[in-house]
């Protein structure tokens, strides 16, 4: 019976029930209870396809449970729990409802067994999540939200177009492994790519995650991109092009992250880079690689949320998340600092932290399949991650020069949420087998070998060394109040400028044209009035004689016509 109820509906129902509960602790508690129940539900679901609905001539599979979907659904429920715990203090109905709908849609999408159901939830995540950005309630947030929405819904419409094409081609809407080839599959691929923040399609991520509310960013960071990773893993595992896309994805954001001032934006870049690892894993497509992707997604959601939570806490207390404004906060926010460091260690893949046991699966897989250059890039990226997320974030927020800010330690519920996330990150790092048991395929991988531990430590420590040397020599770029151009420049600057220019020209031409015609028409009317108006020659009272003249003329013509013919 229970398996006939899609997990997503739990969240939707809760979103409705929410209105019946007055704002306050009871409501916040409900927000915590729902993900727990959902997690239990996911955990107890047997494998198979359930909740099939006949709809519009299709059979929709609302609940396809297998190992791949389960692991993603599980981490999504955990992320929802952490996010809601972190947002315990929020008394904004819009954000609460949005969080529930967003998490529900994401989980629903993961369990979707067909492309149409996927599309429904795909758009659901887009719509629900934008409220987390708008909820900041500023002009900038509104505009960012609009950009985000257009991109996200754009991804959805590309998806539905692709689905329609696939449907007409194959007659099926099943969401199974696809091969790139037809236009339809390419569109679906593109749609996934937008949400997965493929290079050049990535900038919505940095743009929006740094604009959302303190709590909103935490929730945003978990779902959308990982949903895309899941969809790629389901639909395009082993697609070679993904390896290269992924490699580029790991690479370029780190450069931006180094020079970025807004720490939440730095985290967004690093998120982008982490997605690259997962995409490479999908591209490699072996069991090991896919396991790596799933595991990395799982671990990533936790530590990335942790990082966003810690910076969020700083923002919550100081009103800014910019490196140039912060520094020296370790004095008064030591716990937050420690949690941040844990997150940093996890993302940097220090041994005993979660990143270490998940990322290495992907690296090994790529090396194993002989993608050496990709492997080298990933290695570089790993070092780079440590550099900006592992060191830069904690360093500039909590150490560096003293900003003079002495904010109070983060509120207790935030600390609690960070504590959970930190504990899980460490637990996974220490006991990887529990995570491995959840993965889609059987794992025969041992992360803790001497070689692995030592080489990883070498990589990280020498990166740290480089950082220390560069900072001490003053080569390291200081944090500056600035923004950096990225691909969003094209649609925030270039295209609007072009449109304004074109519009000017077009409206000018239009005006000239319509003026021309208006003048023509007006003069025609006035000429008509001149001749046909009451005073006009044609409508005037003619003397009787002229009438006779007309008769004569007409008679003449008639006679001529008659005689000629």
């Amino acid at each position: 019976m229970l398996e006939q109820i899609p997990t997503a509906f739990l969240f939707f129902a809760a979103a409705i029930v929410l209105f019946a509960i007055p704002q306050g602790r009871a409501r916040a508690a409900l927000l915590l209870v729902v993900p727990v129940i959902a997690a239990l539900h996911v955990w107890t679901l047997p494998f198979g396809v359930f909740a099939q609905k006949e709809f519009f001539g299709f059979t929709l599979d609302l609940l396809r449970v297998d190992k791949l979907s389960r692991v993603f659904a599980l981490i999504f429920t955990i992320a929802a729990f952490l996010g809601n715990l972190y947002a315990w203090h929020v008394r904004d109905t819009v954000q609460q409802v949005a969080a529930l709908l967003y998490a529900g849609s994401a989980i629903g999408a993961v369990f979707a067994g067909d492309l149409i159901t996927l599309f429904f939830y795909w758009e659901g995540t887009a719509i629900a999540s934008v409220f987390l950005i708008w909820a900041r309630r500023t002009e900038g947030a509104f505009n960012t939200g609009m950009r985000y929405l257009v991109v996200q819904i754009g991804s959805g419409v590309v998806l539905i177009a692709g689905v329609a094409l696939i449907y007409r081609e194959t007659g099926s809407i099943a969401f199974e492994l696809m091969t790139l080839g037809s236009l339809g599959t390419w569109l679906v691929f593109l749609s996934f790519g937008v949400k997965a923040a493929f290079p050049l399609l990535h900038n919505w991520l940095q743009d929006s995650y740094s604009a959302a509310t303190v709590t909103g960013t935490v929730i945003l960071s978990a779902f959308t991109t990982k949903l895309a990773i899941y969809a790629l893993a389901r639909g395009f595992a082993g697609t070679e092009i993904l390896i290269y896309i992924g490699a580029i994805m790991t690479l370029f954001p780190i450069f931006f992250a180094v020079i970025e001032n807004d720490l939440r934006r730095v985290l967004a870049y690093s998120l982008n880079n982490q997605l690259g690892f997962m995409v490479v894993g999908i591209g490699v497509g072996t069991e090991l690689a896919l396991n790596g992707t799933a595991a990395h997604a799982f671990a990533h959601i936790l530590y990335k949320a942790l990082l966003f939570m810690s910076i969020g806490a700083v923002l919550y207390r100081t009103g800014t998340a910019k490196g140039s404004e912060l520094g020296g906060l370790y004095r008064t926010m030591p716990l937050t600092m420690i949690f941040c460091v844990v997150g940093a260690a996890a993302i940097s893949a220090f041994p005993l932290f979660s990143g270490f046991v998940s990322k290495s699966l992907i690296l090994s897989a790529s090396a194993h399949e002989g993608h050496y250059i990709v492997w080298a890039i990933l290695l570089f990226a790993s070092a780079g991650v440590f550099h900006h997320s592992g060191i830069k974030i904690p360093y500039f927020a909590f150490f560096a020069h003293d900003s003079g800010l002495r904010p109070k330690e983060a509120p207790r519920h935030m600390l609690l949420a960070m504590g959970f996330a930190a504990a899980l990150s460490i637990a996974i790092g220490v006991f990887p087998s529990n995570l491995y048991a959840l993965l889609p395929y059987d794992v025969e991988y041992v992360p803790y070998t001497t070689t692995h531990v030592i080489t990883q430590l070498q990589l990280l420590m020498f990166s740290a060394l480089a950082f220390a040397v560069l900072v001490r020599t003053g080569v390291y770029p200081p944090e500056l109040k600035s923004v950096n151009l990225d691909t969003d420049w094209t649609y925030r600057r270039l295209i609007p400028r072009v449109i304004i220019g074109v519009r000017k020209v077009v409206s000018r031409l239009w005006q000239i044209n319509s003026n021309f015609w208006l003048r023509r028409i007006n003069s025609a009317i006035s000429r008509l009035y001149h001749s046909h108006g009451p005073e006009g020659r044609i409508a005037q009272v003619w003397p009787t004689g002229s009438m006779v003249l007309w008769i004569a003329i007409l008679l003449g013509i008639t006679l001529i016509v008659n005689f000629v013919s």
């Binding site: 429904f120 509104f142 419409v157 590309v158 329609a164 449907y167």
Partner: protein
């Protein structure tokens, strides 16, 4: 079988006509007048449902009233597309009438009897269009609809209203007399009939470029479909009170236009004939242009109703596009979009009216933060907007799906692109209203407590918003219902 089908068809026209009379007779007794009209609306709806239960999605033999010209009768019959149109229009009439009472009283508008009388007559004409069994009959009611809505547009009597009404009438009468009439007579003179026939009547009577010319006469002649460049009447008509914009310019009048368009495509030309002759290719491109261009214009409009009007122009072209694709899926999608768009757009208009009644604001730029004090209105607007965009779980997503599938069938990749782009443009011009409504700060001196418009004003949009959700879940039924129009020519 409560009432015989043929009687019921006549009743659907006579009851609203009767309502017109009662409105004029009881001009000085508002409650009685409005009550009777409401009763008429309900009765009309029930009558249409009776027809539905009698006929289902079948087609009946024409009921001939007069023979006007040899072979040309004033005649009515039931077929799925028309029945759907009738159900939509009569059902929404009830809601709009409630809304209209609330709106007109809430706004202290004048000339209620004339307003509601014209309104009822317009519904009567819509029923005539829906059940017309040949192009001739349809044309007659098409014109009656134009004329009966003219007083509604000119209602306020201000110079602006008069100008708007002139544009309205000028374009609608101009296109219908200047082009559509020619097309109809041309069709009649080459085929000797104008009966709506499955598979069309033109095949074998006309060939070559003439087909495209004839189609052009129809496409532009059906001005109510607001195909560019004959779209200006629609924004001009927005000077009318909002109930008019809601029912007539989101549902009845414009849908009469695209309904006629579909009828012409399916029953006069025939989809297969259109596809073979390729005559509708240009129309497809023009519709695509209309879709995009109107959306772009909509973005530049600050007046909410004007923006919605341009959005309507864009959405109507979806239906034209569906017909012009000349595939069964496209036509089906077009047919479904009549219902889906009706429900969504009426919600938007009624919400716009609700904002106006409560705050007297017409421009989007003044509507910052109103969502907080009018949550139901804005919630309804949000749902309606999502349906227009074509997002699940709202009705609009299905018709769009069918249109995309239709385009896929003919390998019109560009059309798929247009539909996609249009969704994004819809997002760009509809959702900012929501974003700003809920999240921008209220201007100084606004009420801080929830202050919705009167019950009769906010409830109807809430109902229709719910309707868009219901339509999503019953879209399959709807598709099955419509399927006879494209199957087995």
């Amino acid at each position: 079988m409560i009432v015989e089908t043929n009687t019921a068809i006549l009743l659907t026209m006579l009851i609203p006509a009767g309502a017109m009379v009662t409105n004029l007779v009881f001009r000085n007794r508002p409650d009685l007048r409005d009550g009777l009209t409401l009763a008429a609306a309900v009765a009309t709806f029930i009558t249409v449902l009776t027809i539905l239960s009698n006929v289902g999605n079948g087609t009946t033999e024409p009921l001939v009233m007069f023979e006007v010209f040899p072979g040309l009768d004033l005649a009515f019959n039931v077929e799925p597309l028309g029945l759907l149109f009738a159900i939509v229009a009569s059902g929404l009439w009830i809601i709009t009438h409630l809304y209209g009472i609330g709106y007109m009283r809430g706004n202290n508008e004048d000339n209620h009897p004339r307003f509601f009388a014209s309104f009822s007559l317009a519904i009567s004409a819509v029923m005539g269009i829906a059940f017309a069994s040949n192009m001739f009959t349809l044309f007659i009611f098409y014109e009656i609809l134009t004329l009966s809505t003219y007083p509604l547009v000119a209602h306020k009597g201000t110079p602006e209203a008069i100008r708007g009404a002139r544009t309205y009438l000028g374009i609608l009468l101009g296109t219908s007399i200047g082009l559509q009439l020619l097309a109809v007579i041309w069709t009649y003179s080459i085929t000797g009939t104008l009966d709506f026939t499955k598979g069309g009547i033109l095949e074998g009577h006309i060939a070559g470029p003439a087909v495209a010319v004839l189609l052009a006469l129809y496409a532009f002649g059906i001005g109510k479909a607001a195909l560019m460049p004959f779209h200006r009447w629609l924004p001009a008509a927005m000077v009318a009170p909002t109930p008019v914009s809601a029912l007539l310019h989101a549902v009845a009048v414009v849908k009469a236009g695209v309904f006629t368009m579909l009828k012409v495509g399916i029953y006069i030309f025939g989809i297969d004939f259109l596809a073979e002759s390729g005559a509708s290719e240009w129309l497809m491109w023009l519709a695509a242009y209309s879709i995009i261009a109107a959306s772009v214009v909509a973005m530049t409009k600050d007046n909410l109703k004007a923006r919605l009007a341009y959005s309507t122009i864009s959405q109507l072209s979806y239906i034209t596009l569906g017909m012009a694709l000349a595939t069964s899926m496209g036509a089906l999608g077009g047919g479904m979009h009549i219902a889906m768009h009706a429900m969504g757009k009426i919600t938007l208009f009624m919400a716009a009216g609700s904002i106006y009644v409560a705050t007297h604001k017409t421009n989007i730029s003044q509507m910052n933060g109103l969502g907080k004090i009018m949550p139901i209105t804005y919630g309804a607007f949000f749902i309606g907007a999502l349906s227009i965009i074509g997002l699940p779980p709202l009705g609009g997503s299905w018709s769009k799906w069918l249109l995309i599938v239709g385009a896929a069938d003919t390998q019109q990749w560009v059309m798929i692109g247009v539909l996609m782009a249009s969704s994004l443009l819809n997002v760009a011009y509809l959702l900012p209203i929501i974003g700003r409504g809920f999240f921008s700060p209220l201007p100084e001196g606004s009420p801080t407590k929830i202050s919705e418009s009167p019950l009769l004003v906010w409830l109807p949009p809430a109902i229709t918003a719910f309707g868009t959700i219901v339509l999503f879940f019953y879209a399959g039924t709807l598709q099955e219902f419509l399927s006879p129009i494209v199957s087995g020519n």
